[in-house]
Symmetry: C2
C-alpha cells in the first residue's frame, strides 16, 4: 500500500488501455449527455467534432476507470478527490479510439489540521492511439499518511 | 434558439431534478470508478463519506443530464465545451438524494478569429435536497453566434 509519504513530486507514470466502442459512447450519451453530436455521425458532421464523439464527461469517466485499474496494481491509501482544475477536452474522442494515460505528481502536502492525511496534486493526460492528447486535468487527491509503527 | 449574442453576464437560472438511486450509483461505480467507498456502505463507513457515495464523475454526469434537459426546454446553439475550471466535490452524494442545479453566466466572449462563434464561462452549482451544495464548477462553453439576417 502506498501512502502520501511514499509520493514524490515529479514521479511520472504511464498506464491504461481503454477501447472506446460506439455502443458505450451512445449508452453514456443517451443517459447523461444527449446532445446531437454525441448521438449521431450526421449531427456531429455539422460541428467541429466531425463524426460521433464521446461526451467529455464520458472521457473523464473512462480516464477514471484506467486510473482505478492502475491503483489495483499499485494500491494507494486514497480518500477520494476534492476537485479538479484546468480540465481541458483537447481533441474529440471517437468510437474505435484506444486511450491510455500519463500522470505526474505536481505537489504533495501533508494536512496541518489532520495528521493522518494530506493532499496530492497530479496532472493526468489521456492520449488516443495516435499519441494525441485528448484530455488533461489536474486532480486534487486526498490520501492517508503512513500509520506510525507499533 | 438562443445564440451567444443572447447571453447576458449575470443571468442566473435554477433548473433540474435528479433522483439518485442506489442501483445507478453502483452501476456507474462498477463500470468507471470501482473504489470501495463507491461500492459499499461498509467500506464508505470507514471514510469521510460515511455511507455509499456516488463517484464524483457520476455527479458531474448527473449534472450534465440536468443541463441538457434544461437546454431541451431553452435550446442553445451549443458547440460543446472546451473545459472546466475549479471543479469541487463539496459534499458526498448518496442514494436517495434529489439533486438540482443553479447556473450563472460569468463571461461572454465573441471569438476574434471565428466570427460565427464565441465562448461563455458559466458557474454551475449542484445542490442536494437539503440545499447543500455538492458540486460546483466553471465551464468554458462554445456557442454559435446568431446568423446574420438574409
Amino acid at each position: 500500500m502506498l501512502y502520501l509519504d511514499d509520493m514524490q513530486v515529479g514521479t511520472k507514470r504511464s498506464f491504461g488501455r481503454y477501447e472506446v466502442t460506439r455502443e458505450e459512447v451512445l449508452d453514456f450519451a443517451r443517459r447523461y449527455d444527449p446532445q446531437p453530436f454525441h448521438l449521431s455521425d450526421e449531427a456531429a458532421a455539422e460541428t467541429h467534432f466531425g463524426r460521433l464523439a464521446a461526451s467529455g464527461w464520458h472521457t473523464c469517466a473512462m480516464t477514471m476507470s484506467m486510473f482505478v485499474a492502475e491503483m489495483a496494481v499499485h494500491p494507494q491509501a486514497s480518500l477520494g478527490a476534492a476537485g479538479v482544475d484546468e480540465l481541458r477536452w483537447l481533441k474529440p474522442v471517437h468510437p474505435g479510439d484506444v486511450l491510455r494515460c500519463e500522470s505526474e505528481i505536481l505537489e504533495v502536502k501533508p494536512s496541518r489540521s489532520r495528521p493522518d492525511m494530506g493532499s496530492m496534486r497530479t496532472q493526468t493526460t489521456t492520449y488516443n492511439q495516435h499519441g494525441e492528447p485528448v484530455l488533461r486535468f489536474i486532480a486534487l487527491a486526498l490520501m492517508r499518511r503512513r500509520p506510525a509503527a507499533g
